[in-house]
């Protein structure tokens, strides 16, 4: 049970307050980008390449332009005149806005059709004729490493291979030495497949340039409106569009999950066309375009190794990654972290040596990869360590729960310095796993499993005890294109004691309008119902880097608390003045200051705020407003203990999740209902790559499942009933002790599920299964080990 410091009426931290934002969504009054309609608006559709790699011989737009209502067809050559045919990615690579001569992946933008309606734009798109000269694409990243392979990025001067970057961390010599001398070493190759965020709303924008004012208003589905404004200014500053002339409005977003962080070519084309025509341009992707062209996630090929004693003590890990970035590195990582925060992959275990390295290469696939509900490659890292822990446990013949218990970092050893350079802030891993095991009666399940095996039935229990790293981040290490990754809150309290607060983040369903209000209510004692939250308009909100990587609570949430504390300090001064006592004589209780020992002498926060406008102390600034930019001293390290139980049909290989218990520790909880909702959703997004989702390409570069007909987003039928709980280990360095939670379940669920499936069949000789574990894949593996009689 979570203890609350405030009354239910104030509704501070710990109350499961119902969401304030729901009212508009349940009544069809949300305002998403495709709902924006401006006078004189034109529609844009995009012609896309059917080939993965081809020269463009000719673009014939004449038939399209004959259609009444088609206004223009824009090609790369048109944009080249303004220097807008290429743009930088967030990782300082370059990406085509529209090609002038070569297409690099199937579904790449080739040219854009502008028309007076959505349907006419599509007609125009169908009428454009493009002649291509197809070339043989590079689809396998291992082939890209081959020195004999063609150089894909010949646009880059002096480029002689397909290599993008090399990264490494940890003590190689120490790690190698432990591996040489260890009793037991295990090694496993694994692929974390290319997947897609597939938010139910696709991406899109309405770019509206006002020629008279030289001002651009950009309505777009962006998770990071301020960063986008700066990027637009950097890209288009040379044509006179400077940052004060740009307003980015991110309206309600229908799910983001990291896919709405990057700048996609469609946005830039829409801006360019609006700039040239003076008309507002709407561009809304189709679902198929979204799946086929927008940034993918994952696609890491990992060789993972673990060394330890025969008693089951983990001594060292070694990871080697090959990252397939498609034709450009369009990740959305902090600049200094090309492989994101993959180095969290040493896991929740107490050992002193690890070495990790990664190489990234170009292929003829769409660019990426984004941090899909994941704090930058943490999902890949957690999969590797949690799978290897099971492989190791199996090798030394120890129960995977027991082995974890014996290797966990102890509660009293925090803050704990990891071998790859992180300082884990806090955790109680033993308590979390114990709680999950108790919830399922783990020991009884193992007995049942042994009995079922005797009957030839396949049942497995899988564990994942992960550590996340979120809340990017401290400005000494974390920036995007040089901009430090702090975040902001601005609180304005009106004379009657009601407030509006604005943030540099942007909710995509996380419930910020409710939880931020609760943080301010906790600190100031103003009822959360009386605090209006706004985000997503760069003209009104303070600067911030947006919502992704579970960073909103760790950064902007902290800023809200700090800004509110500035106001509480001011309130105390006013209260002392009003009651004619010294500040030292005052006690705070949520919502009021009273005189120590004389609780009848009291001023409510509302009275104090009114005085700030009507009767403030001489010499004090009037009003009641505060802003705070919060630069976190450390990242936060949420953790979780997940256990999955599966039953497998021995004939059809159908995998049924019998139970799934998720115990999360995200530090102090602002709203238990919302935290639980985040966990439910994240778990289903963890189930998805574990069992269903993967973007599949053939050798010719064709995507084989680029629609929602065949890219299997789980429905309510595939999703099990999730059971959740929590332990609470506050983040010691965070103003409200919170850690962030949105991504933990997506990160932690896949290895729990796969470990359960492997556990069900390991007695048959299967040590590892690649995700997604489909029934057919499992069938083939079981067939290989002779399970099915011929």
């Amino acid at each position: 049970m979570i203890k609350c410091k405030t009354s239910k009426e104030i509704g501070g931290m710990g109350h499961s307050k119902k969401r304030k934002e729901d009212a508009r969504f349940i009544q069809g009054k949300g305002n998403y980008v495709d709902d924006v309609k401006l006078p004189g608006m034109l529609y844009m559709d995009i012609v896309r390449s059917p080939y993965a790699y081809a020269k463009i011989k000719n673009i014939d737009a004449s038939k399209a332009l004959e259609i009444e209502g088609v206004v223009a067809v824009v090609t790369g050559k048109d944009l080249e005149k303004y220097g807008l045919h290429w743009m930088p990615t967030l990782m300082s690579d370059t990406q085509m806005v529209l090609p002038t001569d070569t297409v690099m992946y199937q579904a790449q933008e080739v040219c854009a059709v502008i028309a007076t309606s959505r349907y006419l734009a599509r007609d125009g798109k169908e009428a454009v004729r493009v002649d291509y000269e197809p070339m043989k694409p590079l689809m396998d990243p291992f082939d890209s490493m081959d020195p004999d392979s063609p150089v894909l990025r010949s646009d880059k001067e002096g480029k002689t291979d397909n290599h993008i970057w090399h990264w490494e961390v940890g003590d190689k010599d120490k790690t190698d030495s432990i591996f040489r001398n260890a009793d037991v070493t295990v090694k496993q190759q694994m692929h974390i497949p290319r997947i897609h965020v597939a938010s139910i709303e696709t991406c899109g924008c309405v770019a509206s340039y006002n020629k008279v004012e030289n001002h651009l208003t950009m309505y777009m589905t962006t998770q990071a409106p301020h960063a986008i404004r700066t990027v637009i200014a950097l890209v288009a500053g040379h044509v006179g569009l400077t940052e004060e002339k740009i307003r980015v409005i991110s309206p309600d977003i229908g799910g983001g999950f990291g896919g709405k962080v990057p700048v996609y070519p469609g946005y830039v084309i829409a801006i360019a066309v609006s700039f040239l025509t003076g008309a507002p341009i709407k561009w809304i992707e189709d679902r198929s375009e979204n799946l086929q062209a927008d940034s993918f996630a994952r696609d890491y090929h990992i060789t993972a190794e673990m060394a330890g004693t025969k008693e089951g003590k983990i001594l060292a890990t070694r990871f080697k990654v090959l990252a397939d970035h498609g034709y450009t590195d369009a990740s959305a990582n902090p600049s200094k972290f090309p492989t994101g925060l993959f180095s969290i992959g040493t896991g929740s275990y107490d050992y002193g040596a690890s070495h990790m390295e990664a190489d990234a290469v170009y292929t003829n696939k769409p660019p990426g990869g984004v941090a899909y509900r994941c704090s930058f490659r943490v999902t890949e890292a957690v999969h590797a360590i949690e799978r290897m822990t099971d492989v190791f446990a199996n090798k030394v013949g120890k129960d995977p729960a027991q082995l974890r218990m014996e290797n966990f970092i102890k509660k009293e050893d925090f803050p704990w310095a990891s071998p790859t350079g992180w300082l884990y802030d806090s955790g109680d891993y033993h308590a979390g796993l114990k709680m999950a095991m108790d919830a399922l009666n783990y020991d009884q399940l193992r007995i049942e499993q042994a009995e079922l095996r005797k009957e030839g039935k396949l049942m497995g229990i899988g564990i994942s005890t992960f550590t996340e790293v979120v809340g990017a981040g401290p400005s000494k290490d974390f920036d995007i294109l040089g901009i430090k990754m702090f975040d902001s809150a601005e609180i304005r309290v009106h004379p009657t004691g009601k407030a509006i607060a604005r943030f540099g983040t942007k909710s995509q369903g996380q419930g910020h309008e409710t939880t931020y209000a609760q943080i301010i209510a906790e600190e100031l004692g103003i009822p959360m119902e009386n605090i209006q939250i706004e985000e997503g308009d760069t003209d009104t909100a303070p600067y911030g880097l947006g919502t992704y990587a579970s960073r909103s609570t760790p950064t902007a949430g902290a800023a809200a608390a700090m800004a509110a504390r500035k106001l509480r300090d001011k309130a105390k001064k006013i209260a002392a003045y009003l009651m004619e006592v010294s500040e030292a004589d005052l006690e705070w209780e949520p919502g009021k200051f009273y005189v120590k020992g004389a609780p009848e002498k009291v001023k409510t926060i509302q009275e104090i705020i009114f005085a700030a406008y009507t009767n403030h102390p001489p010499g004090m600034e009037g009003g009641f407003e505060a802003t705070h930019y919060y630069d976190p001293p450390n990242l936060t390290f949420p953790s979780g203990a997940y256990i999955c139980v599966v039953d497998i049909d021995p004939e059809t290989c159908h995998i049924k999740i019998r139970r799934f218990v998720a115990i999360d520790d995200c530090g102090n909880i602002i709203n238990p209902m919302i935290v639980q909702g985040q966990v439910h959703g994240g778990l289903t997004q963890g189930l998805a790559p574990a069992m269903y989702e993967e973007l599949i390409y053939d050798k010719a570069g064709n995507i084989l499942n680029g629609t929602l007909m065949d890219y299997l987003v789980p429905t309510a039928v595939e999703s099990p009933h999730w059971e959740t709980g929590h332990t609470v280990t506050p983040a010691p360095h965070h103003p409200i002790g919170a850690k962030g939670v949105g991504e933990s379940p997506t990160v932690g669920a896949p290895p729990a599920i796969v470990n359960a499936i492997v556990d069900a069949v390991k007695h048959l000789g299967i040590e590892h299964l690649e995700i997604p574990v489909t029934p057919f894949k499992l069938y083939k593996e079981l067939k290989k080990v002779g399970y099915f009689e011929e």
Binding site: S16, K18, R19, D22, A23, R24, F25, I26, Q27, G28, K29, G30, N31, Y32, D34, D35, K37, R118, Y119, S199, I200, E201, T202, D252, G254, G255, G256, D286, R287, S288, M435, G509, Q510, G511, V661, I663, P672, M673, I674, Q676, G677, Q678, H680, G681, G682, T684, Q685, T707, L708, M709, V713, T715, A716, V717, S719, H721, W722, T724, G725, H726
Partner: protein
């Protein structure tokens, strides 16, 4: 070439001229300017555009506007009445069955029809019943819970708790 059609949307009659190829969802969103009905895919897979046609749930992205000539359409905007919210709207709000809200209108319209036909569905019936509607945010737990709550409410039964349950 256009065709004139007449249809009732949430009880109000509209006569509109449409191209025969116009999808019903575009008619609703653009001609009638009711943007609560959403578009989430191009293969009839996601259900964000679910509405009721003569009381039967349908994906309005897969139906031509002209097919709705003479029909009665119900969208999310028509759920609430002067008396207040529809129980399904209350159910979704109280049980935290929505995050981003994009799938919510379609999901609720589907649930309305399901509960009309089967006022007291089991969890499995609910899960299969909404399996044509994708939600990427909630993991479905609370959508199931919301529909169970609405079922109780509509039948005047004792209401289940709307507080989150933890192990």
């Amino acid at each position: 070439m256009t065709k004139t059609i007449t249809l009732k949307v949430n009880g109000t009659e509209h006569t509109v001229e449409v191209e025969p190829r116009t999808l019903l969802v575009h008619l609703i969103r653009e001609n009638i300017s009711m943007t609560g009905t959403h578009i989430g895919c191009d293969t009839s897979s996601c259900g964000a555009c679910t509405i009721l046609i003569n009381g039967k749930s349908a994906k309005s992205c897969t139906i031509l506007a002209v097919q709705a000539d003479g029909k009665e359409i119900a969208t999310v905007e028509g759920l609430a009445t002067a008396e207040g919210l529809h129980p399904i709207q209350e159910g979704f709000h109280l049980n935290h069955a929505l995050h981003c809200g994009f799938c919510t209108p379609g999901m609720m319209m589907r649930a309305v029809e399901m509960l009309e036909k089967n006022p007291n569905p089991t969890e499995e019936e609910i899960r299969w019943g909404i399996s044509g509607n994708l939600c990427r945010c909630t993991g479905y737990n609370n959508i199931v819970k919301a529909i169970q709550w609405t079922s109780a409410k509509m039948q005047g039964k004792e209401l289940p708790s709307t507080e989150p349950e933890f192990v």
